[in-house]
């Protein structure tokens, strides 16, 4: 490849990382003053990153080594006593794949935004934020240790905050960005706790070192229970970032951001970060933790899919579809389908970005996001229509040799089925998986039919609709091609297995008897010992999923395609009114959070504040008042008692003087008598004191 070894040194990976950062710095400070408001700066930066990423990817492809890791040194970043954190770059196959996903989608979204955001008052700011996001996401992918992962994790969150709230004049956008960040923070709380646990027990942060330490020298007190707990904590981060139930609420709201942002961040890259993290740290998770992951993912998959069935906002449908697909990935990882889960991340990135950009194209043309305003658009926007159809086929898992989604989703379903066959008590997972697939096909075709076929529902808007400019359609075309061929040019999922292989679990189950091993580490056993089961499961899964997809596409066609209309959606909705309402209102999750979490918390903070100013400050002021009172009392005491005593002495003297004055009768006889009395006294005293010896 050009005679350059892109993975020979850290230079090229670092360049991938730093280009967008440089673009961000340039854009935020002087972007406004540049020609074209500097969109080319960001575009060029991410373009360079893309080129290098692709070059690196190509080199990795050529190497065809599933255990390839470029050995880069780590640098000491900070030291605090014995505790040090090193920073470095990890570059292996997963990194290469993720880098391509991130930079490619990012580049296309940059390009698309040139058209989509044209004329926005904060045009250059938008590109600055996009660059910041690209930087953070690339950093996240290149990290080689937990702490830098967390750092970029948070930076990604911030760029998402900035981009969701880009049109902050809208109250809904302002709310959404805050909600996104805070909800993510809740997940990050767990994530950080998990990192702390690992640091505490192992004292290491670098992935490799952590896995080694777990395998070789796991401290005795780092029991499986703790490890499971740490795993679940780490997974909480993914729950937040990848919008898994119960922290999924932010993602649909995040659609308030500009559509390219939705495509980039909330479909293809950032939300995949959670899945990526689980992939990266896969060896850390115990079987129990993986089960938790599988259930959360499976539930999210079906839960979000049901909501998507009835939504009328085109972006909201896609948002819930994203949540659902992320659930698939997470479930895939949880049930042990490591390759399938990550593969789905890869394929999903392309077709979901495609779908979002298509929806953006539609929104750009119609200035409306409501499906009920659309219809018959295929004539006006043929490129968008074709692209979106390809995306829909991909996400629905339309049968073999055509689009990518089929392979990855099939892989996940197969892995799930394999687990269920091994351990039938988890049959619910399979139901989640297959039913979710059915719903997915249904709501996506509903979307297509309502948008592009039939008669225009809003003639006025239809009149003004037009195909988008080339900067917007080119990304669509590229992504459409990629949606098809990202599955390795019709070769299925085998090629992926050459590069991504399930890592060995670092968790050595210490005290598990031989017989119980299967029961506890079931999902592990499936892949290690039960290849025939797995194979069979995949066969079943393929047949089942094809069947399900066809049935649900047929149903969707019968319901929504204008030439059939055999089934009335309205009637069904009418008949199942409570269910419909429940789904339409997203299971009232937001309301429940509002009522049972947010409001009580706010009320509690008010209580705290009142406690603070009332009780604590009251105590302080009370002390002050008590002191003042004491001072007053002391003052009174001073006035009355002490000063009183002084005056009292004076008065006594006066009184004594008066009393003595009484003696002074002026009568000579009395004087004499006193004199005699005095003399007698003196003599008496003299007698008593001196003479009575």
């Amino acid at each position: 490849m050009l005679g350059i070894d892109f993975l020979g040194s850290q230079f090229w990976p670092l360049l991938i990382l730093l280009c967008p950062l440089a673009a961000f710095v340039v854009q935020i400070f002087i972007g406004r003053f540049l020609p074209r408001k500097g969109d080319w700066v960001s575009l060029a930066a991410i373009g360079i990153s893309l080129l290098i990423s692709v070059a690196c990817f190509a080199q990795v492809l050529i190497k065809k080594d599933p255990h390839f890791t470029a050995g880069f040194p780590s640098y000491q970043w900070l030291t605090a006593g014995m505790f040090t954190i090193k920073m470095g770059i990890l570059f292996d196959n997963i990194t290469a794949i993720m880098l391509v996903v991130v930079t490619l989608v990012s580049f296309l979204v940059h390009l698309y935004s040139v058209g989509y955001m044209h004329g926005d008052i904060r045009y250059s700011r938008f590109f600055a934020y996009l660059s910041l996001f690209s930087f953070s996401m690339i950093g996240l992918v290149l990290s080689n240790n937990l702490l830098s992962l967390y750092i970029f994790w948070e930076l990604v969150g911030v760029s998402s905050y900035l981009l969701i709230g880009f049109w902050f004049e809208k109250v809904s956008a302002a709310n959404a960005c805050k909600k996104a960040f805070v909800t993510n923070r809740v997940g990050d709380f767990g994530f950080f706790l998990g990192i702390l646990l690992i640091i505490f027990f192992l004292g290491k942060t670098e992935y490799g070192e952590v896995f080694n330490a777990l395998k070789m020298s796991r401290p005795v007190d780092f029991t499986e229970g703790w490890l499971t707990f740490a795993g679940v904590c780490l997974f909480m981060g993914a729950v937040g970032k990848s919008a898994q139930f119960p922290l999924h609420v932010w993602l649909p709201d995040a659609m308030e951001g500009p559509t390219p942002v939705s495509a980039l961040i909330h479909a293809a890259t950032m939300v995949a970060a959670g899945v990526y993290m689980v992939t990266r740290l896969y060896p850390v998770f115990t079987p129990d933790a993986l089960l938790v992951i599988a259930y959360v993912g499976g539930f999210t998959a079906i839960f979000a899919a049901t909501i998507a069935l009835v939504q009328n906002d085109i972006k909201r449908v896609l948002a819930y579809s994203t949540v659902s697909q992320l659930g698939y990935m997470v479930m895939g990882l949880g049930v042990g389908g490591y390759v399938a889960g990550f593969y789905h991340l890869w394929t999903h990135a392309f077709f979901k970005a495609l779908l979002f950009l298509c929806s953006g194209s539609v929104i750009h043309a119609l200035h409306s996001q409501d499906l009920r305003d659309m219809g018959g658009l295929w004539k006006k926007m043929p490129i968008t229509f074709v692209a979106m159809t390809i995306g829909t086929l991909a996400i629905s898992g339309f049968p073999p040799y055509f689009v990518s989604g089929f392979y990855s989703k099939d892989g996940i379903l197969g892995a799930t089925l394999a687990l269920v066959m091994e351990r039938p008590q988890h049959f619910v997972l399979a139901i989640f998986g297959f039913l979710g697939a059915a719903f997915t096909a249904f709501y996506m075709f509903r979307l297509i039919y309502m948008t592009f076929t039939g008669h225009p529902r809003d003639e006025h808007k239809y009149e003004h609709a037009h195909e988008s400019p080339w900067t917007m359609t080119v990304p669509l075309m590229v992504l459409a091609v990629l949606s098809i061929c990202s599955a390795g040019f019709f070769s299925g999922s085998e090629w992926f297995g050459d590069y991504v292989q399930k890592p060995e679990s670092a968790v050595v189950m210490a005290h598990v008897p031989a017989g119980a091993h299967e029961a506890v580490a079931g999902s592990e056993a499936v892949h290690e010992g039960g290849h025939s089961t797995e194979h069979a499961a995949h066969q079943y899964a393929v047949i089942l999923s094809i069947l399900i997809v066809f049935i649900s596409i047929t149903l969707a066609t019968l319901t929504y395609y204008h030439k059939f209309k055999k089934i009335s959606a309205e009637k069904i909705a009418e008949r199942l009114k409570p269910v419909y309402n429940l789904l339409y209102n997203k299971y009232y999750i937001d309301e429940i959070y509002e009522k049972f979490i947010i409001r009580p918390v706010v009320r509690f903070t008010k209580l705290c504040s009142r406690f603070d100013s009332g009780v604590i400050d009251g105590a302080v002021n009370g002390t002050a008042k008590a002191t003042v009172f004491a001072a007053f009392a002391t003052g009174q005491h001073d006035l009355k008692v002490i000063d009183g005593a002084v005056n009292g002495v004076a008065q006594t003297v006066i009184a004594a003087g008066k009393g003595a004055g009484m003696m002074q009768t002026g009568r000579i006889k009395n004087y004499f008598a006193w004199a005699v009395g005095g003399m007698v006294c003196i003599l008496g005293l003299i007698y008593l004191l001196l003479l009575r010896r």
Binding site: W77, V158, D188, F200, I616
Partner: protein, 539 residues
Amino acid sequence: MDYLSNFYSNPEIIKYLRDVFLGAGAINQSHILSLMTFVPFLGAIIILFIPRQNKDLVRAVAVVATGIPLLLAAQVFWVFYTQGGAQMKFVEMYDWIKPFNIQYFMGIDGVSAPMVILTALLGFICIFASWNIEKGVKAYFALFLILETGMMGVFCALDFFLFYVYWEVMLLPMYFLIGIWGGPRKEYAAIKFFVYTLAGSVLMLLVMLAMYFNTNIAEAGPNAAQHTFNLLLLTNQNMHIGILQNFDMRLLLYIGLFIAFAIKVPVFPFHTWLPDAHVEAPTAISVILAGVLLKMGTYGIFRISFPLLPDMAQYTSIGLAVFGMINIIYGALCAMAQDDLKKLVAYSSISHMGYCLLGMGALTAAGMNGALLQMFNHGTITGMLFLLVGVIYERAHHRNVDGFGGLATKVPVYAGIMGFAFFASLGLPGMSGFISEALCFIGGFEHDYLHVITAVSTLGIVITAAYLLWTFQKIFLGPFNNKYDNLQEINGRELFTLVPLGIIVVILGFFPSIILNIMGGGINTLMNIISKGAGHWSW
């Protein structure tokens, strides 16, 4: 002949000071610390001789009088950056009140150097933040400069008595600065601050005397005093006699010291002076209050409580961490409920100082480094926040969070900087606050019994994010409130006060080792003293 023998004839003492603290460093060769401390004081005196009408000259003198310490601080930074912070540097030692062995003993190590730098920096910046003061300019700047003398001295003093003197010196200007140039309830706030802090000082005085009279430095020679106020010597547990050998008395002394410092930090439940003082104080004084004064509390624990009574530091470490946890959570919850922006920032200060306490309670290297770094970072970040609050207050004449709305369209630069400061405050990685908070948590986790406390404290980052972003939304996002059509964008002078702090926040966010390497040596020395001192007692 060792220079120290001019002061101490006992070779044991000289050896202890040299081995543990001073190394082979020279004494009385550099007078940087005295200069940094007393140049502002000199400036204050000069200002008193300037005619009242000549306001600009007053300000210029103030700039020079704080600028010189800032330049010297740069030199201090460089020396520490190149040589590490394990030993006391720039040491000055003179007899002050000979009969009582009170010395003019100044010196800084890795623990105090960042604080000295922070003080010099904020002092300089606050002069510019006070540029708009028109009432009693002379008095204001003179008092401010005296305040800086006091603050600088506290961080440099190595003699308990000297420390106490500086501690009190700083109090009085503060009282007047709040009480004269403050807001509507300034008298109340000023008195509350003054009396509260003074109450703490009394405890410190008692402990100081108890320590003094119960040490025996075994000086030979006629009329030689047996006691010492030397903070470095007092760390030598061998010299502790009398009541200092009694467990209960030591605990009592430790608690006394803790309360004295806790009031300054402030630790729940001694924190209520802070919202009042912050809200009423003028902007620059709020910055100094939050940026420097609060640090004196934690610095006192670092410099006095821990090394002097190391066994008690270990004995009560969990308690300290619990206080930290309460501060973090409670401060954040209270902050969430505030309508007044300045009060909100004040409560967030309480919350953020909790991280320091948590890290200190851990008594691990990571935790202590985190706490010290958090002290520095909180100074810069909260300094920014208060400056920003001052900016909006100057324009809108109110600080009610709900009274704004959509300002980001009108004042984008201001909104951007505010957003920056908010994100720094909520511990965003890439900014300095994150590293210190993370280190505090890591340190807390390394302690054997603090897992649950640390885990609960981690919730603080969620609440902090919630209230800061909520506030940001209320002020800057959403539809524009037309009342503020004439709102002025932030001006050059204000930018000049904010940008340096912002740059420091970012640089330390990416390269924390710049300052961690300075702190590390000091913390290392401190940890050695603690573990050795605690080993001396076998309770």
